[in-house]
């Protein structure tokens, strides 16, 4: 099934569903509309990455691997069959991942991210939130949004894919604000605006983005990190000056300095966020 085409086909349906919700909300409709407009104007595609993964992306333009691409690289390096490597990397989760990727066309090319409105994103998977420029997403044919984590939401027992659910929920980038409003609008209407980013994407949940293609560092609008982590690295400066920095921490701060260097070279802002 072509997830991206389904998303495009759902555009009008999303617009209609949003209008129905707006009509049903009555006096809260104004807040819902403000929420939707905010997501349309400020909602970005984002992915969370750990430091070493981010360094590889910034250091070698285009090396933005998913598990299939990573296994292919390892196959070239080691000579071991890709299927065997995939089983090794995915372990007990192999069947679920394969079921989804085989059901969706271009499944082996897919990258996974989330809709982002601020904050630090899905930090359980990476402490650096890479926010893409709007230009990277606009007009990208191979980009779709889903209600939530696809592997959790659209995989039924026995590794069956919920094709009906995918068909219903796939949403194009142009209509992502309607999806956000339908999922979170009722809550957003009663919440202060500064809490909307966490509603859209946090460690507790997210609107999933799936896309194909190879982004480059030039596609990034900003990289975001927790201010607490920055305080930690600054503290390492003192420990290093006193000769008390352990070997592991020494490598952490070296990696972090490499990141700052690469961000400067690519002119990518580093935003420190108080979580």
């Amino acid at each position: 099934m072509d997830l991206f085409q389904m998303a495009r086909d759902n555009a009008e349906t999303y617009a209609r569903r949003y209008e129905s919700l707006r009509a049903a909300l009555g006096v809260a409709a104004g807040r819902l509309e403000l929420f939707a407009v905010t997501v349309r104007n400020e909602g970005r595609l984002a992915v969370n990455r750990r430091l070493k993964v981010l360094l590889r992306f910034l250091d070698r333009t285009g090396s933005y691997y998913n598990v299939h691409e990573w296994a292919a690289k390892l196959e070239r390096r080691s000579g071991r069959p890709r299927g065997e490597l995939l089983r090794l990397l995915l372990g007990a989760y192999y069947d679920r991942r394969m079921a989804f990727d085989r059901c969706v066309s271009q499944g082996e090319r897919l990258h996974y991210g989330a809709l982002h409105l601020g904050g630090l994103g899905a930090v359980h998977f990476g402490d650096y939130c890479l926010v893409f420029k709007e230009a990277f997403a606009v007009g990208r044919a191979e980009l779709a949004y889903l209600w939530a984590d696809s592997l959790k939401t659209y995989l039924l027992p026995g590794c069956m894919v919920d094709e009906e659910g995918l068909q219903r929920d796939a949403c194009p980038h142009s209509h992502r604000h309607y999806l956000a409003a339908l999922k979170h609008g009722a809550d957003a209407a009663s919440l202060a605006e500064e809490r909307w980013p966490a509603l859209i994407c946090s460690r507790d949940g997210f609107i999933e983005a799936l896309f194909a293609g190879s982004p480059t560092p030039g596609d990034l609008q900003a990289v975001r990190m927790d201010q607490v982590d920055y305080d930690l690295y600054t503290g390492f400066l003192v420990d290093a000056a006193l000769g008390r920095l352990g070997e592991g921490d020494r490598h952490l701060v070296e990696d972090f300095d490499n990141l700052l260097d690469l961000l400067e070279r690519h002119s990518i802002p580093l935003e420190k966020v108080a979580a």
Binding site: N48, R50, L51, K52, V53, Y65, N66, V67, W70, L88, L89, L90, G91, A92, Y93, R96, R97, Y112, H124, F125, G126, D127, D149, L151, K152, R203, Q227, Y230, D231, L232, Y233, T234, G235, L237, V238, A240, A241, L242, G243, L245, G246, E247, G248, D249, R250, H251, L252, V253, E254, F256, D257, L260, D261, E264, L270, K272
Partner: protein, 197 residues
């Protein structure tokens, strides 16, 4: 008993099961909270986010942390203990005001009282070499600390010189011997004060 479920070795991240909870670990292990997560987070971490599936049991936390640190360091070259001056300046250049204030607090409350003049002087010199909006407001304080550091270092040096001179004094040398007097002077130099008799 702790079971390792998934690992991203090059970053030192891991999901483990301990006492019916799944925890996310990341370095430095002793300096962070380790949040509890749902099983579905581990599934996604492996299936999508580049973690490797694992199934290994450790008797206690030190054994687990030692394993994670070993995997984290595998293939990495040894680094010099000291950070390069440009690395220090780069980290300071991007630092938010709160981090810079904490740094000056530690210099004032920890490094200077510990008489680590070289460490304090180096950090403060690097701080003053950085010119950003965040450092601008803290430059006067950093400059004051650097002056305090230099004055304290000078005072210590003068005391040490006096004791070195005393070491050359013929009467003291004749009474105690040259080496004991020199060793005593060195102890005073390191402590920065004359110990009680």
């Amino acid at each position: 008993m702790i079971r390792l479920l998934a690992i991203a070795p090059e970053d030192g991240w891991a999901f483990v099961r301990s006492a019916d909870r799944i925890l996310l670990l990341r370095p430095p292990y002793g300096k962070r909270r380790h949040p509890a997560v749902e099983e579905s987070v581990v599934a996604r971490a492996v299936a999508v986010e580049g973690f490797e599936a694992a199934d290994q049991v450790f008797p206690d936390w030190p054994a687990l942390f030692a394993h994670l640190e070993e995997r984290f360091l595998a293939g990495r070259k040894a680094l010099p203990a000291a950070l390069a001056p440009e690395a220090i300046e780069r980290i300071l250049r991007h630092a938010p005001p709160s981090a810079l204030e904490s740094l000056l607090d530690r210099i004032e409350q920890e490094i200077l009282p510990g008489r680590q003049w070289d460490a304090a002087g180096e950090l403060l010199a690097r701080f003053l070499a950085v010119d950003t909006p965040a450092t601008a407001g803290l430059r006067p304080r950093a400059a004051e600390l650097l002056v305090s550091c230099q004055q304290a270092r000078s005072a210590t040096g003068e005391r040490w010189q006096r004791m070195t001179g005393a070491g050359r004094a013929p009467l003291a040398t004749a009474k105690y011997g040259l080496e004991p007097v020199r060793a005593h002077a060195e102890r005073i130099r390191q402590r920065g004060f004359f110990p009680a008799a």
